[in-house]
């Protein structure tokens, strides 16, 4: 049941107006106006989203608000519309995108305060919000893809924002191209679905129609689900396409917080949840999603524990956390995956903004070896980041505890005991690397360069207020999804249930059925998290020399982690170089120049010789050409007249 609600258009309109204003008038109107308009656009969108959400809460469960703009693509019997849908799932997403987005826009006023290109920056940020909102509000898969690639564009533009640095420009390009690999899969997934639907007379791609005719999708569910998931591994930085995200950290830090942590990179999780009816049809596709998620989670967590760059640690942490979300949706706990998506948006954006606050205070320093002891000079940043650290580590009652616990419990219940084990170990690693980050940055002796030490300062209110609000969210944001039986229980899950019902996977015969109770599972995860924190404490606070000694003794392992398992190098050797060789040597110089042109130039057409001839005729006097041409035309016409007469 869809209720027509034109005000949905406002959620999209405000950011769009922001884009237009910033592009055309931003530089002219000056920094203060832009600093006001750009966040205001997102705050207004947030307000509109709240209004829509309130309306939705007043309606029966499973209802949705809809807003149709115009028929978009019509060819043959196919018709895809520009139409939006605001239901429990997209509603939560919209609130996260506009809510967290608004705070980050506000923070950017301070962070980008000295940048000359502020208008361009905010134009891109507003454009990102617009594209992301299209992604989550689209009522059909094809329109969703518009947002999907649109956010990729903004990601590219913002990673390469400081484009005069060649490395940054390269990283932006890398992000876009790696995403394109995934998107090719996404497009093929769309095609698979379209043809399956068309063969039974469904000529559209709206989520509701697809869900209604899910039985026609059954034969292609595994193929389509896997292809679409390839797209998700690009956008959501999962194995094998995660390689772009760590390099994306060269963009301005608010960008890392908004796009590369809180919203865009979680689009893959949203897509799987949105298409839960499709994935439910194929246990193979689900297993792929869950396995890739779990493996990615632990893989990138191991890289995170040795990285010296504060933003890179957070980047690998993001990859790892999205792995959790994928694990969640992959074992059929769609609501839990989205729940973790939301809490992650709180604590990871806070972590990035906190890191940004530190970087801002240290004049761009990102190496944690040159930080330390900042808790006294930057108390607000320290406390808020500590809250986020506790949340991501899964310490109750902070938000991350509930969402991560829900995912791990569902994994265990689904019979994927190994994946659960991987998830639990990752929880311990997470706590370790996160507190390593906090201790290296805020505790111990100061290792800050002498030149910068003098003017280290706490950030201005425009930056700290968002930190505090987000810290509050990290504290209480998880309480809407308590374990069943405690107080109001899993209100969040119940709210989402009509849209993405939890899939009760019956463990296959090959999978062991675990016998541990949920409370024991929680205790194990909690215990590992606390051990992780304790280990970080002993490494980086008690005996600061220990990590370096360890690194020396385990040098090959340490170097492998530091170099990120050499994945970039492997991709370069196996993909990029052969491709360029094929392009330049074989096809261009070989086929095109030598073979085809060689044949053309040589087949006695005497091209060069004729060229000589032309030079002699080509006197440059146009009247001559015109005359010659006219004569030719007259001759032909005369010939025809002659023919006609003879007839």
């Amino acid at each position: 049941m869809t209720h027509d609600f034109p005000a949905l258009g406002l959620i999209l309109l405000f950011p769009l107006l922001g884009v237009i204003f910033n592009i055309f008038f931003g530089q002219r109107c000056g920094r203060r106006v832009v600093n006001f308009i750009a966040p205001a656009a997102i705050f207004l969108a947030f307000a509109a989203a709240l209004a829509a959400f309130a309306t939705l809460l007043g309606m029966p469960r499973g209802a949705a608000l809809g807003f149709d703009l115009w028929p978009w693509i019509e060819a043959g019997r196919f018709h895809f519309d520009i139409a939006f849908r605001f239901d429990a799932l997209s509603g939560v997403m919209v609130l996260v995108v506009t809510g967290v987005g608004a705070l980050i826009h506000l923070y950017s006023d301070g962070y980008m305060g000295e940048d000359e290109d502020y208008a361009r920056f905010f134009a891109y940020m507003n454009l990102f919000a617009f594209a992301m909102l299209i992604l989550v509000l689209a009522n059909n898969l094809l329109l969703m893809f518009v947002g999907w690639e649109g956010v990729g564009l903004c990601s590219y533009l913002l990673i390469a924002f400081w484009y005069d640095n060649a490395e940054f420009a390269y990283n932006g390009r890398k992000a876009f191209i790696v995403n394109r690999v995934g998107d090719a899969g996404f497009v093929l997934g769309i095609l698979t679905l379209i043809s399956a639907l068309a063969s039974s007379g469904i000529w559209t791609l709206t989520f509701t129609e697809m869900a209604k005719h899910r039985e026609t999708l059954a034969p292609v569910a595994t193929l389509a689900g896997s292809l679409l998931f390839l797209g998700a591994t690009g956008k959501s930085a999962q194995i094998p396409l995660y390689v772009w995200l760590p390099d994306a950290m060269v963009g301005p830090t608010p960008v890392s917080a908004l796009i590369h942590a809180a919203t865009m990179v979680t689009a893959g999780v949203y897509m799987v949840a949105r298409l839960n009816f499709l994935y439910a049809l194929s246990s193979q596709a689900m297993t792929i999603v869950a396995t890739v998620g779990a493996v990615t989670a632990i893989f990138s967590a191991t890289i995170a524990i040795v990285q010296p760059d504060i933003k890179r640690v957070l980047a690998y942490s993001t990859i790892s956390q999205i792995g959790y979300m994928m694990l969640g949706v992959g074992v059929g706990a769609f609501a839990s995956g989205i729940f973790h998506l939301m809490t992650h948006a709180f604590f990871k954006s806070l972590l990035f903004l906190g890191a940004g606050s530190v970087i801002h205070a240290l004049d761009g320093e990102q190496d944690m070896n040159h930080m330390g002891g900042l808790k006294r000079t930057m108390p607000v940043t320290w406390v808020t980041m500590l809250v986020a650290g506790l949340a991501i580590s899964g310490i109750p009652p902070f938000a991350g505890f509930f969402s991560k616990d829900a995912i791990l419990a569902s994994t265990y219940a689904s019979g994927h005991i190994w994946l659960w084990a991987v998830g639990v170990v990752t929880a311990g690693l997470t706590a370790f690397y996160m507190f390593r980050l906090l201790f290296l940055t805020f505790h111990g002796a100061s290792r800050i360069d002498a030149s910068k030490r003098g003017h280290v300062h706490e950030s201005p209110a425009v930056m700290t207020v968002p930190l505090v609000i987000l810290a509050l969210c990290c504290l209480i944001g998880g309480w809407i999804g308590l374990p069943d039986g405690i107080l109001w229980g899993d209100a969040f899950g119940r709210f989402l249930m009509p849209i993405c019902p939890t899939l009760k996977l019956t463990p296959a015969a090959t999978l062991a059925r675990g016998s541990l109770s949920p409370a024991v599972l929680s205790a194990i995860a909690f215990g590992l998290a606390v051990s992780g924190i304790a280990l970080a404490w002993s490494f980086y606070v008690m005996t600061p020399g220990l990590p370096a000694r360890l690194a020396r003794n385990l040098s090959p392992l340490y170097r492998m982690l530091l170099r990120k398992y050499y994945i970039d190098e492997i991709y370069n050797t196996l993909v990029s170089r052969p491709l360029f060789w094929l392009s330049q040597v074989v096809l261009f110089r070989g086929v095109d120049s030598a073979i085809i042109d060689g044949a053309v130039d040589g087949t006695g057409l005497g091209v060069e010789a004729s060229g000589e001839g032309l030079r002699r005729i080509a006197t440059g006097n146009v009247q001559h050409y015109a005359l010659a041409y006219l004569a030719g035309v007259l001759a032909i016409a005369g010939y025809y007249v002659y023919l006609v007469h003879r007839h």
């Binding site: 060819a75 876009f176 043809s195 392009s583 050409y625």
Partner: protein, 499 residues
């Protein structure tokens, strides 16, 4: 308006006459005469689109008069959904290319006169419905192009012009032979394309196949399809900016238009039988090969030229699908490619006029010095790489939807090439516009008003068609779906009723 098609076709000839009689003292006036000629053409095109009925697949605005009775040759003009979109495209591109020509500094009289003649030839090809008349216009278009490249081109202009001429001449000869063959072997000798289509089943299948392949080669040279494409990069590199714009914007479309108008409409049975290879396989090769070779280019203009080859491959692939989605996508892609590539060539011209070279590796950091120029280039690049929200995405995705039903393997290549396209375009973008600005370009001016005037309308079209493709699709649909049904029905045994 009584004879809109005659008018829109021959207005440029009036302009040409005016330019030729205009005394050299008023040298500065040539370009304005040209502009004043193409503007009414554009207005008539708009009028045609406005008054065009999208409910019928029939021919509209018909003008039909006997011309050479003895040979049943008629002065027969008319448009259907396919040609009306091309008429509109031609009018837009010609108008813009006049303004893109303002940097021509020698032999202006000849240049603008030939440009006008070229305009008439192109417009005529799209409105002619008598094969003989069609052929005349086809030839009329060839010579001005040859001279425009050969005289106003770059250093290797003669080589490029001759190469263009010989290739195209070969194509013309093949088309001429088929035209005469169809005339002499028909049950009633005629050049009337509608009549030829009506009597197509009377030709023997072998004869149809031979004609089809000969016509295909004739048209494939224009597209250009692999392996007949090597004239294109040379022609583009040497041609002046506006001529490249016309070449890529309009001329290439004549190849695929010809296949639809002649091969599909007149020889549907052979089309049904042969398209999978000649359009499907070769189209796929075009897509992948064009993109791969584009990646190897160091000359900005050559890169755009090869990208054209790749993008025209989608047109072929869509046509090979014989599905409503594929074939509508194909013609929409013709329109979109026309506008986007026109932008790209204008953009190449902008930097060439300033820096006097086109070495991709010789630039860097232009974004800092020319932000407006860089912004529009970014838009054009992302349009070219099929970013959703911009026009080419719609046509490419329709092509893929259509092709997937029949040729899934080719479609995988088509979809996969989107990665390569992004790779070579963004790599090029990075090398020219991003990075550190070279000192020697620190004084380049940003876009001039005139350059902006040529680019902005195209940019608007590219954005609008990304969100409202119906503006063009609506024109095409009825005619194309009808044509598609004709082709599908032509071999009842094979005609699987695919949407």
């Amino acid at each position: 308006m009584n004879h809109p098609l005659t008018l829109i076709t021959f207005i440029p000839l009036i302009g040409m006459a005016l330019i030729l009689v205009c005394p050299p003292a008023f040298k500065a006036g040539y370009k304005w005469i040209a502009a004043a000629t193409t503007l009414p053409q554009l207005i008539i095109a708009g009028w045609l689109v406005h008054n065009f009925s999208t409910n019928t697949a029939g021919i509209q605005f018909v003008e039909r008069y006997p011309w050479i009775r003895a040979y049943h040759i008629f002065y027969f003009m008319g448009v259907d959904g396919i040609s009306i979109s091309m008429v509109l495209l031609t009018a837009i591109i010609c108008f813009i290319s006049v303004f893109a020509s303002f940097s021509i500094e020698h032999g202006e009289k000849g240049y603008y006169a030939l440009l006008m003649l070229l305009d008439t030839g192109m417009m005529g090809v799209f409105v002619a419905l008598d094969f003989f008349l069609f052929y005349i216009f086809w030839e009329v278009m060839l010579l001005p192009m040859y001279f425009l490249i050969g005289i106003w081109g770059g250093p290797r202009r003669e080589y490029a012009a001759i190469k263009f001429f010989l290739y195209t001449l070969l194509g013309s000869v093949l088309i001429l032979l088929v035209m005469l063959g169809l005339y002499y072997y028909g049950v009633t000798p005629t050049f009337d394309m509608t009549q030829l289509a009506a009597q197509s089943s009377s030709y023997s299948m072998t004869f149809q196949r031979i004609c089809w392949v000969a016509l295909f080669i004739g048209f494939a040279i224009k597209i250009p399809a692999f392996p007949f494409h090597t004239w294109l990069p040379d022609a583009h590199v040497e041609a002046p900016t506006a001529i490249s714009v016309i070449l890529a914007g309009v001329l290439l479309k004549m190849g695929t238009y010809g296949i639809l108008r002649v091969n599909y409409a007149i020889l549907p049975a052979a089309s049904h039988e042969l398209a999978w290879f000649f359009l499907g396989v070769i189209g796929t090769v075009n897509i992948v090969y064009g993109a791969m070779v584009a990646m190897a280019q160091t000359d900005y203009k050559k890169l755009v030229a090869y990208s054209s080859i790749s993008h025209m491959g989608y047109v072929m692939l869509g046509m090979a699908s014989f599905t409503a989605a594929g074939i509508n996508g194909a013609v929409l892609q013709m329109f979109n490619h026309g506008t986007i590539t026109a932008m790209l060539f204008i953009l190449v011209g902008v930097i060439y006029d300033r820096a006097h070279h086109r070495e991709i590796n010789g630039f860097g950091g232009l974004a800092q010095q020319m932000p407006l120029y860089t912004g529009i280039t970014g838009l054009a690049f992302f349009a070219a790489l099929g970013l959703p929200g911009l026009s080419a995405f719609i046509s490419e995705v329709l092509v893929l939807i259509g092709a997937w039903q029949r040729h899934p393997v080719m479609t995988v290549f088509g979809a996969g090439t989107a990665i390569l396209t992004a790779a070579y375009l963004l790599w090029c973008f990075q090398r020219i516009y991003l990075g550190r600005l070279d000192e020697k370009y620190a004084s380049l001016p940003d876009l001039s008003l005139r350059e902006g005037f040529t680019l902005v309308p195209l940019a608007v079209i590219v954005i609008v068609l990304g969100w409202y493709p119906h503006a063009i699709l609506g024109l095409l649909q009825t005619s194309l779906n009808h044509l598609n049904r004709v082709v599908l029905a032509a071999t009842p045994a094979q005609a699987v009723a695919l949407h």
